[in-house]
Symmetry: C2
Subunit: 265 residues, 2 copies
Amino acid sequence: MAAPQPSAPTPKPGRLAVIGLGPGSAELMAPAVRAELDRAQDIVGYTTYVEMAGPFRPDQRLLDSDNRQELDRARLAFELAAQGRHVVVVSSGDPGVFAMAAAVFEVLEHSQDPAWHAVELTILPGISAAQAAAARAGAPLGHDFCVISLSDNLKPWSIIAHRLRQAALADLVIALYNPRSRARPDQFAEALTVLREIRTPETPIVLGRDIGRPDESLTVTTLGEIQPEQVDMRTVVIVGSSLTRRLARQDGAEWVYTPRWYADD
Amino acid sequence: MAAPQPSAPTPKPGRLAVIGLGPGSAELMAPAVRAELDRAQDIVGYTTYVEMAGPFRPDQRLLDSDNRQELDRARLAFELAAQGRHVVVVSSGDPGVFAMAAAVFEVLEHSQDPAWHAVELTILPGISAAQAAAARAGAPLGHDFCVISLSDNLKPWSIIAHRLRQAALADLVIALYNPRSRARPDQFAEALTVLREIRTPETPIVLGRDIGRPDESLTVTTLGEIQPEQVDMRTVVIVGSSLTRRLARQDGAEWVYTPRWYADD
């Protein structure tokens, strides 16, 4: 039975993939992510990450911007996918760790548009900045750990300080994201004050900056010695537990690792 | 100037790469890991993971076993690499997260053999089981979270219970590894008791079993409803924070995500 041809056909829902590039090197990006980027018609994201994800073909549209308006970016992606486009939203690291995946779900939950809900939505994970820094340093995340963002753009500092204190009391290794920016120059120092009340000055600290990118740097220091100026918004800070150890390397550098055992108390 | 030929030349130190296969699918394994596996002469690891890493060429030696003797496996890897071999130690997920990297450093630190310390040692990260489960479920790790192993093989239960309590008080999302095994059938129930004292029955829980492998399964439930029998040693359990939300999918299933914001208190 031939249906009458509608004058304005409802577009077939498209696909929206929220992908993680990993730390930066193509050698650490999942093949599933590479394939999704290759098939995409529209690539949405922060300019730095869209550039990391390329090169792209002339038929692929780059919808990148320099601002931090994650929700606007997520809405744009749904609008395009609802029109039937194959859209990729780009994050560095893992999109599920302080990145675009949560913003995409926030926008979807608050949308009443059935076309947005009909989009084929998929999240493709990536190796996070904390994992990349940990691997370069040794195995500081080798035992129980937590991952906390120091940004108070979306949560009050009181919550952050409370979480740091509880995590330190639990003797978890602590990976800190967004530790310090020009807009928040003092909060990393406040975080150190909280940690120094509970952990010893000898506690090893790993600073991983742009690990997996050409200008990567890795620093091993201690809670007693670290200066806030050593850290910026592109640094991941890994603060050891009471068991985290430093081990000399033959090249003069050091490994940092957290053993799997825990002494009986 | 021609040097005399030594009768027993000291072997050139080899290479030991501790690699993460990711959750299981080749599509989520980093190209750097694939390249390392292709170049390896000796592949050391738990049989299940070595099989996941293949196929291998006839000239590659597989030194796999079914036991959980991680330290023996790490020692074997150093012995081979110290003889000049190119050795890969295989973990699933990320080798730095409850896997072989920490065991390798434990063994290295306690070795006095300069040949072991001369080995070129590298750690290559992978996408962890928690990240794979989170991506399939939505974005439950979208905000501050912790990763805790419930295995008390190497740490006392009192430490585990303390960490769970502190993490719940900090309102962190909690990813639990090794939640339940035949040798430890009751500890997951004990963990739930700790969490239920602090978190509400409506707290969303994601159970990811073998995510990224052919027989993967994903379950969304709550802290009030979950039964310990739903979980085994191949399950990753993600317990939401007070903000973690469930969102209906058009296919009848649900997304689970943790928003990036935190209400001011």
